[in-house]
């Protein structure tokens, strides 16, 4: 087990290095954007003197390198500066929104991951049957349609025409958990439809890949029933690719929700990011990007560790 701990620590270290490189990219990419922030904040009518004064106040007259390290130093301690528009602390502005996004992602994941793995196992078992084809067509259709289209279709049929769910996922602090689930069901369902196909097809492929192995033939020749051959003999050896594709989709649930949040007017980090970009609120843009990057890195790390833990050769060394 010591080896695995060492491996995890090593990956974690590499993750930190990657994040550092990304932070450089994010900071200087924003820096490259045309236009002057102080000018943008004050509007075209501002005199050069007021603009210069604001620049000095915001620290924009200092060299970029210096500002980068000030920003990085703050980010490490959780201080991303203040919003240029509202003057609110970035960390406060983001934290509520991020929690909302995480909640929606978890909601979708809790539904999507089990469904797609179970469906994947079933279509592997019933491969090349009508069920397999129907499942493939349905999931492929849902993955090929743009999210906003899916979202609007769901709104049309499940909100406008039938009134089962609210069309707008607005949140208030005094509602019960059940109500919360009810209100956010449509955005969650949209996300589920988007990510299921990928995970299901990967599960199917990973299992079918193994079916030609001698140990699968051995299991059949021992009289093991077909479902058990798949679940007990193939699935445990197929985890590594499945875990990786699950992690990729979980990351997408957090970083790719912008459109869904806009469609359902859901107060998540994606909406915040869109607002901030249009208003040139750079501290918020930078903080959002950094959080997205960290999410990606952490989930990929988790996938790596997961793949290692499901490999008996690594788990039980000679």
């Amino acid at each position: 087990m010591g080896d695995i701990l060492q491996l995890v620590l090593k990956r974690l270290g590499l993750g930190v290095v990657t994040l550092f490189v990304i932070s450089i990219l994010i900071f200087f990419a924003v820096e490259l954007l045309p236009g002057d922030i102080a000018q943008a904040v004050l509007g075209q009518a501002a005199t050069p003197e007021t603009v210069a004064a604001l620049r000095e106040k915001m620290g924009l007259d200092q060299p970029a390198i210096l500002r980068y390290f000030q920003w990085l130093g703050g980010a490490v301690t959780g201080d991303f500066g203040v919003s240029l528009i509202s003057g609110e602390r970035v960390s406060t502005a983001i934290s509520d929104r991020f929690v909302n996004t995480l909640f929606l992602a978890c909601y979708a994941a809790v539904i999507a991951v089990p469904i797609s793995i179970i469906l994947g196992v079933i279509v592997a078992l019933l491969r090349n049957t009508l069920f397999d084809r129907v499942a493939n067509v349905v999931t492929l259709t849902s993955i090929s349609s743009p999210e906003f289209f899916l979202g609007y279709i769901l709104i049309l049929y499940l909100a406008v025409k039938t009134n089962y769910f609210p069309a707008i996922a607005s949140l208030s602090s005094d509602m019960s958990f059940g109500e919360l689930l009810h209100r956010t069901f449509l955005p969650a369902l949209t996300l589920v439809l988007v990510v299921t196909a990928h995970m299901m097809r990967m599960t199917r492929a990973a299992i079918i890949n193994l079916l030609a192995s001698p140990y699968i033939e051995m299991a059949r020749l021992k009289g093991v029933p077909a479902w058990k051959v798949i679940v007990k003999h193939a699935l445990p050896n197929a985890w590594a690719p499945i875990i990786n594709v699950v992690a990729l989709n979980l990351a997408y649930l957090i970083t790719g929700v912008v459109l869904v949040e806009v469609v359902f007017v859901y107060p998540g980090i994606g909406q915040l990011l869109v607002d901030a970009v249009s208003k040139r609120d750079f501290p918020i843009v930078q903080a959002c990007c950094l959080i997205f990057a960290a999410t990606f890195i952490l989930l990929n790390l988790a996938a790596d560790v997961g793949s290692i833990l499901t490999n008996p050769r690594l788990r039980h060394p000679k």
Partner: protein
Amino acid sequence: MVPRKEVLLEVKDLRIEGYSDEQWVEIVHGVDLTLHKGEVLGLIGESGAGKSTIGLASMGFARDGCRISGGSIEFDGMELTTTPESDLRALRGSRIAYVAQSAAASFNPAHRIIDQHTEAPIQYRIQKRVEAQEDAMELYHRLRLPNPNEIGFRYPHQVSGGQLQRAMTAMAMACRPDLIIFDEPTTALDVTTQIEVLAAIRDIVDQFNTAAIYITHDLAVVAQMADTIKVLLKGEEVEEAPTEQMLDSPSEDYTKSLWAVRSFKRPQKDRPAAADAVPIVSVKNVDAAYGKIQVLDDVSFDIYAGMTVAVVGESGSGKSTTARCITGLLPPTKGEILFNGESLPPRYQDRSKDQLRQAQMIYQMADTALNPKIRISEIIGRPAQFYGNLHGAELKNRVDELLDLIELDPAKFYNRFPPELSGGQKQRIGIARALAAEPSFIICDEVTSALDQLVAEGILKLLDKLQEDLNLAYMFITHDLATVRSIADEVVVMQKGKVVEQGPKDKMFTPPHHPYTDLLLSSVPEMDPNWLTTLLEERGTDSIGEAAKV
């Protein structure tokens, strides 16, 4: 008169089809087979003879892409060809069990050995988990596995190949089946390990009076195991007879030719008498390591022009590593390689084109050593172009000449791709590719071990002829002592990275031997059906079961 035993399996006019090139082609053409309770039937033949397909069919099983298209398979009164799949499944593992060729690949890497063992008995409600585990340990004990009470709780990758093969035999025994299909169970093992597995299998089959179909391409092995031998060729029966009779007086020409393969032997050549003769390759005090693990320890031997030096030993003894050191793929950590008396740079990157040209290699798996997407003309032409700087018509002539040398018709093979060739033809292309560089020294790494005996003999004869014509020196890596006997002039015996004995072949095959050489030599199965029994008696254990009871 001994009363005739009860018939267990009766196969009549079995026909099996395989799906290839979008149509069904018959691959087994009406084979009959009768097996009585407690009897062992040996099925032998070259690859493609349909041995495994027939073995699996006697479980009512056809691999994906195959189907049983005709005939009847009657097992203990049940007609398997018309039995529904669910009933067939209930038969597998409980009444008919299977032992596969590679236990390492056939044990599921994700589960402990004993959990795979107890799967069938628990499923068929023959035993509860704890009972089944105790029974497994008992079987491990009988099969003389080390630490029988613990070994089952390991994962397959934590156990050696020979032990896994015995554990798989134990697994087949778990429900005490009436019939076991052994599909080349020792082919992937070293001769020394093979003996243990053979003895274990024979013993356990005797003890439980289990009937067995023993599939192999090795005649000497089947002679030890079977009561009756059936010879197959291209999906058809050639002949069947009791073992002794089959060995003494085979009636069909094909069988006789199989029997004769092992008789190819070439007179031994001696080192040049001149005192100043310089060996073409000289390995001097070479040590080598993979990372921190030392794999070669002070290896030294010489190879003279026109001679064949066989390097023998079990897997892991360092034979192939030595070859990697000579070719410069793995720089030695100590010692040096001399070529015609001159020291070679340790890394192949530092060697001159001419130094590289002089030493060529032929690989074990011609399938993987030839790029399937490149035409034969280019596979052979490339080294001729690279080393000989030949182009256009000159190059084509050279390729034709090389194809002639390896006895393949240039007109037919020039434009073909490797997958269109048979195993023996592919290996010939491998030889031609080595010859294209006009080397003086060729390393042959287990070049015949993936081939059927008749084909292998053809390759050996070809290599011998080429040696005569071109005065080539061979380093022949092999674990098959029959090959050594037929082609070698000198023998180097390796064990655990060291050379334990070396000398001229005739001397090596006459006692006294080094104890390890003796072990290797005596472990090679012989055609005498009593060989295994006699050998085990000499080694002091007349049967595995007896030893286990002590």
